[in-house]
C-alpha cells in the first residue's frame, strides 16, 4: 500500500500543489479575517478582546494535531521500517512549532485584558510551553545528528515522549484549577458553548490555518526530497 505513496511517484503532485493551496489559503484567510475582525459579534463579557480567540484557538489545535501526527508517524516508521514516515514528520514539524509559538504569544496577549497578566504558570499554559520545548528539541535533533539511522531514532523518541503531554494539555483545564475555562467545543458532541456567529469565523480561521500548514508541509517535503536527490547526484 505504501508503494503508492513513494516520493518518486507523488513528487509530480507535491511539486505542483503548493501554488493552488497558496491561492486557496489566501481566499479562505481573507474571508476568515473579515468574519473574525468585522462581522462577528463582540462578547458580552470580554468585548472585542474575544477576537483574539480566532487566531489563538486554531493555532493551539493545529500545533497539538501536528505533534500527535509526529508521534504517529514516528511509531509508523519504527513498525513499518519506512523512512518516508520520518521525512513526512520532519516536514510537518516547522509549521507545528510556529503554530505553538503563535498560540503561546497570542494567548499571552489575550491574557492581559482578560486576566490582568501576560503570563501565569497555569497548567494549560505551562503544558503548552513544554510542548514548544519538545518541538524545539525535535527540530534541533534533525540539525545536530548527521547519521540517518540515529536521527530517526532520536527524533522518534522525542515525538513519542512528547505526545504524553498532548492529553495533559487537553485535560489540564479539567484536572487542575486553572485560569483557562473548560473546553467550549467537543468534537464528539453537537453541544458547544459557543454561539454559531462565533463558531463560523472560528471554523473558517481553522480551515485557513490548516491550509497554511499543508502549504508549508508540501514545500518542506519537496525541499527534503530534492536534498535526497542532490545526494543521489553526488553518488552518480
Amino acid at each position: 500500500m505504501f508503494k503508492l505513496f513513494e516520493p518518486n511517484k507523488i513528487f509530480a503532485i507535491t511539486s505542483k500543489a503548493p501554488k493552488y493551496i497558496l491561492f486557496l489559503f489566501i481566499v479562505v484567510l481573507t474571508i476568515g479575517l473579515t468574519e473574525a475582525l468585522v462581522l462577528s459579534p463582540e462578547d458580552y463579557k470580554q468585548s472585542d478582546a474575544v477576537r483574539i480567540m480566532y487566531v489563538h484557538v486554531p493555532a493551539a489545535w493545529i500545533s497539538l494535531g501536528i505533534f500527535s501526527s509526529l508521534a504517529l508517524l514516528s511509531i509508523g516508521s519504527f513498525v513499518f521500517k519506512n523512512k518516508n514516515f520520518a521525512l513526512i514528520a520532519k516536514s510537518l514539524a516547522p509549521s507545528g512549532f510556529v503554530f505553538n509559538i503563535v498560540a503561546l504569544v497570542t494567548g499571552s496577549i489575550w491574557g492581559k485584558p482578560t486576566w490582568g497578566t501576560w503570563w501565569a504558570w497555569d497548567a494549560r499554559i505551562t503544558s503548552m510551553l513544554i510542548l514548544a520545548l519538545f518541538y524545539g528539541m525535535y527540530l534541533l535533533a534533525w540539525r545536530i545528528y548527521r547519521e540517518k539511522e540515529k536521527v530517526i531514532k532520536v527524533t522518534s523518541l522525542i515525538a513519542i515522549l512528547g505526545v504524553i503531554n498532548v492529553p495533559i494539555i487537553k485535560f489540564s483545564v479539567d484536572w487542575w484549577n486553572t485560569l483557562h475555562q473548560p473546553a467550549s467545543i467537543n468534537i464528539l458532541s453537537t453541544n458547544t458553548a459557543i454561539h454559531t456567529s462565533m463558531l463560523i469565523p472560528l471554523g473558517i480561521m481553522t480551515a485557513a490555518f490548516t491550509l497554511f500548514s499543508l502549504l508549508i508541509f508540501l514545500m518542506k517535503y519537496n525541499t527534503e526530497l530534492i536534498k535526497l536527490k542532490n545526494k543521489g547526484l553526488d553518488r552518480l
Binding site: R51, F212, K229
Partner: protein, 75 residues
C-alpha cells in the same frame, strides 16, 4: 465604522498585535521555507549541469529528476 474597527472598544492594541504577530509569523515561515526550497532546486540544477552526458542520461531516466528541473524557476 473604521474607527470602531481600529479601536475595538479599547482592545485594539491587543487584538491587532495578536493578529499582526500571527500573520508576520506565517509570512516569515513561508518565505524562509520558499528560500530553502529554491536554494535546493538551484543546487540540484547546478549539480545536474555538471554531470557528463552518460551520467546525465542516467539521472534523467528518473521522472522525479525531470520534475525538479522543470520546476526550478517557479514553485
Amino acid at each position: 465604522m473604521i474607527n470602531e474597527i481600529i479601536s475595538m472598544n479599547g482592545y485594539g492594541a491587543y487584538v491587532w498585535s495578536a493578529f499582526s504577530f500571527t500573520l508576520m509569523s506565517f509570512t516569515t515561515l513561508y518565505f524562509a521555507t520558499k528560500l530553502q526550497l529554491s536554494k535546493e532546486r538551484k543546487k540540484f540544477a547546478i549539480k545536474f549541469g555538471s554531470l557528463d552526458a552518460e551520467k546525465a542520461r542516467a539521472a534523467r531516466s528518473q521522472n522525479i529528476n525531470k520534475e525538479i528541473l522543470s520546476n526550478t524557476s517557479n514553485i
